[in-house]
């Protein structure tokens, strides 16, 4: 399918929902994508089945602080150097690119990169939502290498890593990002199209587009429960944000808590890092990562990110099923609450069939 302006709107909404409160706000990224569309270059989204199984795809995206992304937008030409570095090292002829992360900015940036590289986007990603670290990509969770990988920018700065385990690569990349001005373009080891079912979350961009299209119906008079059902999830609670507490961390990402006084009188508490990770209703854990937790502005339905949530907002807390990939035996631990220091077993929402 060929991406048009209407799809960009849906994509912006859908990737924001799948961001689970993180992944960066998608509206600016959507503008960058519209600018790319305006140049007239076609951007297409292909199903993995439409591509020959022997072909390769390269996961691309950006890594770093999304807050800096707002200050320094891509100027064009960011992905060519990292892409070239990977091809140079692996000697494959790619059939297209896939997203490293569907949630948030990366779900959109993959199309910007595809436009720059002149390749189609294959509908798959490595996280199925937003997650903060590169060692939390599906490939890494399965124990497969993520290197060679490259980060770089339009001015020619380039870092290529190879032969490194994911956790070490995460540490090196995290440490190097400040030298790239906060964020960098990212490309990594090409994956065989035939392996996408096993190694990635296929169809996640399509899910983002569908979620976005359904979410467009949200307005002031919408019934949250009906909206949640249409999105394939459920409402955890609706009410006013009573308190937002942020704890600065000396290592890793800062933690925080959002406490919502539900209209029914109960209290809903969300624990967050870069994403909303755990929900407790009246002290009882009711939802957790790898499922997706969203806070939406009650009136507009616009997702409220962990960075921008503040006391006094009238919100609806939404629980969407996470990618089934993360519930496979042996990989859940990589994204379960304990991976974020929350000492509790993950809680799964039985995925309701999305409404047609």
């Amino acid at each position: 399918m060929r991406l048009g302006p209407a799809e960009v709107d849906d994509l912006a909404r859908g990737t924001a929902l799948l961001g689970s409160g993180g992944g960066g706000q998608t509206d600016l990224a959507a503008r960058v994508l519209r600018r790319a569309l305006a140049t007239g270059r076609p951007i297409t989204l292909l199903d993995p089945g439409d591509v020959g199984g022997d072909g390769y795809v390269v996961p691309v995206g950006l890594v770093g602080a999304v807050s800096v992304f707002y200050e320094r937008l891509p100027s064009g030409g960011e992905w060519t150097p990292v892409f070239a570095a990977i091809l140079d090292r692996t000697r494959v002829a790619p059939a297209g690119v896939i997203a490293i992360e569907v949630g948030g900015v990366n779900g959109i940036v993959v199309f910007v990169a595809a436009a720059e590289l002149g390749l189609p986007v294959i509908d798959a990603d490595l996280q199925g939502r937003a997650l903060p670290r590169i060692d939390q990509m599906s490939v890494a969770a399965l124990g497969e290498p993520i290197t060679p990988l490259a980060i770089g920018d339009a001015s020619g700065r380039l870092l290529v890593l190879d032969g490194m385990p994911p956790a070490a690569a995460e540490r090196v990349v995290r440490g190097a990002l400040s030298e790239f001005g906060g964020w960098a373009a990212f490309a990594m080891r090409p994956l065989r199209v035939a392996d996408l079912d096993r190694l990635t979350i296929p169809g996640s961009l399509g899910r983002a587009l569908r979620l976005g299209a359904r979410h467009a119906a949200w307005n002031r008079s919408a019934d949250p429960d009906a909206m949640a059902a249409a999105l394939g999830g459920r409402v955890l609670g609706a009410g006013r944000v009573l308190e937002v507490v942020r704890h600065r961390a000396t290592v890793g990402f800062g933690r925080g808590s959002v406490i919502i006084r539900a209209h029914g009188g109960g209290l809903l508490r969300l624990e967050m890092e870069n994403e909303y990770l755990l929900a407790l209703a009246d002290g009882r854990p009711v939802a957790s990562t790898p499922d997706i937790l969203c806070l939406l502005d009650r009136a507009t339905g616009i997702p409220v990110s962990c960075d921008t949530v503040r006391g006094g907002l009238d919100v609806v807390a939404l629980h969407l099923p996470g990618p089934s990939f993360w519930w496979r035996p042996g990989v859940t631990h990589a994204v379960a609450p304990r991976a974020f220091g929350l000492d509790i077993d993950p809680i799964r929402l039985d995925p309701a069939p999305e409404r047609p």
């Binding site: 508490r269 407790l280 009246d282 002290g283 000492d343």
Partner: protein, 517 residues
């Protein structure tokens, strides 16, 4: 003890050894009964029986503001715990989030901060919950130890008990008036019921126990402890502790009485010397007098406070001295017969103002003592030095006799205001003499001839029959004949001065009476 109602959380927080405890979630939910205490970990895991306080003795850093506290509160609520107890956060450390407090209130599970030694808290709370009798015995033991040293006065007994109970303790007088600092009797306290009274108002309990009088009936004082919210068993334990205090007070009173009696004997013997005018300069007893603080030089005004009815004087000597001191009467006081004699001494002769002031002060003293006993007060005139004091004391004694029969003067009589004749008449017309006078002259009334008037005129005329005849307008011989009949009828001898005095007074009183009617 098994039938005892379980104490409430509020009462546990009111138990002095647990006083550091504060509720982090406000005042709600504190009135539920508590049946036990159990230790849990920070996740609240493990079985918790309904009604128990779950105490987590150590929590990780940041726990109070974390979601785990919320989850634990929820789990404990689902197990019907009475409360969740955690160590108090250090100053500056993170405490509960507003949202968590709200959650705990919403779920109805109070969160208690129990200070910085949670295991000790647990021990104290467990002793209080499971073995209140042991905790009470321990308290009684401590009270006993602190009360059985040197004899302690009311102030010291109150202070000692207050330290033991860690609650305010006060001593009240027999009528319930506070005699130590602290607090007054609670509403509903009845000073005429000499039994232990446990009074609860606004959830706060006050226990008041009587100090039985040495005479075996009545109450000398009360000891009260203001406890705040406490369970019944604790109020009973406190009553036992206060009773230990009553023993200490009785001991102190007995000791004091021995001292007073010894003093009283010395004073009585010196007083005897004084009344008989033996305390001249140079007399050996004079040295004893100055040693016990008697001032014999200068101008003295004596007074006598006569107690009416059966009164144990020594029991009240302190109260009399206190009442005088309260009215700023700087006097030496001695027990004497039916009451207390005292005198004030000045360097120069006191003026009229000083006399008036003393009388006004003594009137107030009498009112102050009214709750203990009724009394009559006589005041003598100002006289100089030891012989003068003897005289003033005698006058005060006489005046107090008169004051007894004269409620119309407020049972307070000052010799100065009387004049000797008035004094005599006043005495003669007293309740005891007037009927006797009437009876004495009764035989004359039924006889012909105005024998009473004749006798009165004769005596008024200085025993001159001629002058009396002139006053009465009869013949001199008639007067003489009537007087002979009087002597026969009354079997008196008009040549005897004693008989004459009695008859003269009787005539005057009956004349006054018939004039009044």
């Amino acid at each position: 003890m098994s039938a005892e109602r379980a104490p409430t959380l509020r009462q546990i927080l009111g138990y002095p050894p647990l006083a550091e405890t504060v509720s982090l979630t406000g005042d709600e939910g504190l009135d539920r009964p508590v049946t036990g205490i159990v230790l849990v970990d920070a996740a609240g895991a493990g079985p918790v029986r309904p009604g128990t306080i779950a105490l987590c003795p150590a929590v990780p850093a940041g726990y109070l503001s974390s979601w785990r506290l919320d989850a634990t509160v929820r789990r404990l609520r689902d197990q019907e715990a009475a409360a969740f107890a955690v160590p108090s956060p250090a100053p500056g450390e993170e405490t509960m989030l507003d949202g968590s407090r709200r959650l705990a209130r919403h779920l109805g599970l109070p969160v208690l901060a129990v200070g910085h030694d949670p295991l000790r808290w647990a021990g104290d709370a467990a002793a209080f919950l499971y073995a209140p009798a042991v905790a009470a015995a321990e308290l009684l033991h401590r009270a006993h130890r602190s009360l059985t040293g040197a004899p302690l006065g009311p102030e010291e007994v109150a202070r000692t008990l207050s330290r033991t109970l860690e609650r305010p303790v006060a001593v009240f007088g027999p009528d319930g008036a506070p005699i130590t600092e602290g607090f007054g009797p609670p509403p509903g306290f009845d000073p005429y019921r000499p039994v232990t009274q446990t009074l609860t108002e606004h959830g706060g309990t006050t226990v008041v126990v009587p100090v039985p009088a040495a005479t075996g009936w009545g109450v000398d004082a009360w000891i009260a402890a203001s406890l705040g919210p406490v369970p019944e068993s604790w109020a009973r334990a406190v009553a036992d502790v206060l009773r230990a205090g009553t023993l200490a007070l009785q001991r102190w009173q007995a000791t004091r009485r021995v001292v007073l009696e010894r003093d009283a004997r010395l004073r009585a013997s010196l007083f005897g010397d004084l009344l008989e005018g033996r305390l001249d300069p140079g007399h050996p007893a004079r040295r004893d007098a100055s040693e016990i603080g008697w001032r014999l030089d200068g101008w003295h005004v004596a007074f006598h406070i006569a107690a009416l009815g059966e009164v144990d004087l020594l029991r009240h000597t302190d109260a009399v001295a206190a009442a005088l001191a309260a009215e700023r009467v700087d006097a030496t006081v001695v027990e004497r017969g039916d009451g207390w004699s005292g005198w004030t001494t000045t360097r120069s002769e006191p003026g009229q103002d000083a006399g008036r002031d003393l009388i006004a002060a003594l009137r107030k003293v009498r009112r102050r003592l009214a709750s203990r006993f009724d009394c009559a007060i006589g005041v003598g005139r100002a006289h100089r030095d030891a012989p003068g004091l003897t005289r003033s004391l005698a006058e005060a004694w006489d005046a107090s006799r008169i004051a007894r029969g004269r409620p119309q003067t407020g049972r307070l009589v000052h010799i100065d205001r009387l004049g000797l004749a008035q004094l005599l008449t006043a005495w003669a017309s007293s309740e005891t003499f007037a009927p006797a006078a009437a009876r004495l002259l009764e035989p004359l009334r039924s006889q012909p001839g105005d024998l009473v008037a004749t006798l009165a005129a004769y005596l008024d005329a200085g025993c001159s029959a001629a002058d009396a005849a002139a006053v009465l307008g009869v013949h001199r011989n008639t007067v003489a004949a009537r007087l002979r009949r009087v002597e026969e009828l009354l079997t008196v001898d008009l040549n005897n001065p004693d008989d004459r005095l009695a008859l003269h007074l009787a005539c005057r009183v009956t004349a006054d009476r018939s004039a009044a009617t």
